[in-house]
């Protein structure tokens, strides 16, 4: 079982990780971050991006009651992975990792991210 700080360290140990941040989606607050130059702005941006994804997919999809497993955005130099964790009374809490596109393995990173979030909220 791990805490918030360990969860970020684990995320940073994913091969190719450049930065990791935990975001409280409801308030758009940066809970904690590593390797992120401006956590406040990053948190606001990532939580808006996640909200837009949720709303957009809800309108585009016929699937009822779907849950987002993760969001992957690929830019020229990086992968941005966002993984939501449902918390017991609020949330979700978003674990967001930025990975170097040259040095990382997307499939591996997704699996590691899932393991980390499972450890954080498992009781």
């Amino acid at each position: 079982m791990i805490g918030i700080e360990d969860c970020l360290s684990e995320a940073m140990s994913i091969p190719g990780a450049l930065g990791a941040i935990l975001v409280d989606h409801t308030s758009g607050m940066a809970v904690a971050g590593k390797g992120i130059p401006d956590p406040g702005r990053a948190a606001a941006g990532l939580s808006e991006a996640y909200r837009a994804t949720l709303d957009g997919i809800a309108m585009a999809s016929q699937e009822t009651g779907f849950r987002i497993e993760d969001v992957i955005v690929t830019t020229g130099s990086a992968y941005h992975l966002v993984r939501p964790m449902e918390m017991m009374f609020d949330g979700p809490l978003l674990l967001c990792v930025r990975l170097d596109v040259e040095r990382s393995n997307l499939a591996l990173a997704r699996r590691r991210l899932r393991t980390i979030t499972d450890e954080l909220v498992a009781s």
């Binding site: 918030i4 308030s27 009374f89 009781s123």
Partner: protein, 269 residues
Amino acid sequence: MAAPTLDAVLTGLAQDEATGSLRVGKEGTVYYVRGRVSYVECAATPGVEELLGASGRISANGMRHARQESGSGGDGGALLVDRGVLSRGELEFCMLSATLDAAFFLLTSRTVRTRFRESDAHWLGVHWFFDVPGLLRECARRRARLERAWPSEELDARPVTPLRQIPGTHALLTRLQWELLLAADSTATPVELARRLGRPAYSTLLAVRELAAAGLVMTGETAALPKRTPKSPAPPREPGPAGSGLPQVNGDATDVNLLLRLRDALEAL
């Protein structure tokens, strides 16, 4: 001599690297560990105990036992983690979430009657820290976030009343917004609904303002007798979340029906 403001008292304790609890009137308590804030309680917001209780993870009785067992100066939080009530990550998130929620309401308090108790600690123990400037900054950021959602305080302390009909034909709701609309009974305020639902009060306030922006709850403008306070700024028509600078188009079938009935009535004259 002017009494010191609450901000000044909080900052002073941080500079003195104080450890203990600061009671703020009857409204709440701020817990310090070596000048940093470890927990905040506020009478208006649900604390960790209530949030955990409402989530069904532990009964009120179980919570009382854990509290007695941990004793004074103990670490009740660690005890709950050992019992498997919640994980360490969840405990940390609970503590920080409840602290920010309480701080948002407590730190606006006008009460300056404060009492500091040296080395008093919360029974749940210390699981997350905030420095005082960071806490005050986050409260300000949250206030700005509310203003962006719907720039008026008029709904914050009023009973939440869902509208009978929605504007347009579709509405997209979050889980909390849905729960709020179901729980709203035209008598409970957002903060009361938060307690009833076992949700943080700030999240509830934000959800109510978003519902107002989406035109789904009664506001001063939609009420039968509009009574706008002069202070409240204009409703966010243009820069609203769904706004695109275009006039609002309403293809509601009820409007068409109304027009048809009107035409028929006029023709019958």
